[in-house]
């Protein structure tokens, strides 16, 4: 654990921009540092988005290869971290489209004042069943609940819970204002609660 912490601090001292420039200059260790820095966060986001471990590995490879090939022309007005998650999300959406798991209408932007579908708009503010947190298959319940979310909410929730991004970073990754990211997140929560309660009810019956 101590070694891990030390290496993390050392790698944080060098900014993404410096590592990117060093990579461009042919420093393979710099590129490796970028891969190490973002592998786990990106992998968790992709895996939770698609639910397939092997496919997540493939897509993460795509993301880093695109990073490597895009370095010479990468825009500097956006943080590299946000760019990486944007590429990862786009790649996940491509995969879901390929599986016919989503429709294009799901990806359309939603105005802040737009209403959710009647089902999604029903708030469920009831308490979560206590036994849910104690169950050994909690991980599966959490994963399943996220999978029930509409794509636009799933992206925000996964960037928050699986990738641990701040709302500012989520906004940058999804090309939306930070306030919109927060709004989507808050709208997703009742849906998560409902999904978790439904799962608990299924188990108890």
């Amino acid at each position: 654990m101590q070694i891990r912490e030390t290496s993390r601090i050392e790698s944080i001292e060098i900014t993404d921009g410096v590592l990117a420039q060093q990579s461009l200059d042919g420093d393979e260790y710099a590129f490796e540092s970028l891969v190490q820095r973002y592998s786990t966060q990106l992998f968790n986001f992709i895996y939770r988005f698609l639910g397939d471990y092997d496919q997540a590995c493939d897509i993460l490879q795509h993301v880093f290869i695109q990073l490597h090939t895009s370095l010479p022309t990468l825009r500097t007005d956006k943080p590299l971290k946000a760019w990486l998650f944007q590429v990862a999300r786009n790649r996940c959406l491509d995969e879901l489209r390929r599986r016919h798991a989503i429709h294009f209408s799901e990806l359309e932007a939603v105005n802040d004042d737009e209403e959710l579908s009647p089902l999604a708009a029903i708030p469920d503010n009831g308490p979560l069943p206590e036994e849910l947190a104690e169950q050994s298959d909690l991980q599966q319940h959490l994963h399943n609940a996220i999978q029930t979310l509409p794509i636009k909410f799933r992206s925000v929730v996964l960037l928050r819970y699986a990738a641990q991004l701040s709302f500012s970073e989520i906004g940058q990754a999804l090309n939306m204002p930070e306030a919109t990211a927060k709004t989507y997140f808050q709208r997703a929560k009742p849906l998560l609660r409902t999904a978790l309660i439904n799962q608990a009810n299924l188990i108890s019956h």
């Binding site: 461009l24 200059d25 042919g26 393979e28 590129f31 490796e32 891969v35 190490q36 592998s39 786990t40 992998f43 968790n44 895996y47 939770r48 471990y53 092997d54 496919q55 997540a56 590995c57 493939d58 993460l60 490879q61 795509h62 880093f64 290869i65 695109q66 490597h68 090939t69 895009s70 370095l71 010479p72 022309t73 790649r91 491509d94 308490p127 979560l128 849910l132 947190a133 909690l138 991980q139 959490l142 994963h143 928050r160 819970y161 699986a162 641990q164 701040s166 709302f167 500012s168 927060k182 929560k189 998560l192 609660r193 978790l196």
Partner: protein, 78 residues
């Protein structure tokens, strides 16, 4: 598949509710230990930055990138 506990959770000041607390238990999943070396072996390292710049100043399509990715399906066949 490897799991790892998150060391810390969210860093900004939005108040946390029971849903946040529950999802803070979502475990991190690690890519395979060989992943980084696999990526590094697939990136076109022999290209100079100049030639890469000229090549990728054009739009890069995903299917052009596919040839550098070893898919899991193909790996299973090997």
């Amino acid at each position: 598949m490897q799991y790892q506990e998150y060391i810390s959770f969210l860093d900004d000041d939005m108040p946390q509710d029971d849903i946040d607390k529950l999802f803070s238990q979502l475990q991190a999943i690690e890519p395979p230990p060989s992943f980084i070396s696999r990526v590094l072996s697939r990136v076109p390292t022999t290209m100079s930055s100049v030639s890469a710049a000229s090549l990728f100043s054009q739009s890069v399509e995903w299917n052009q990138l596919d040839r550098w990715v070893v898919g899991n399906n193909r790996r299973k066949l090997c």
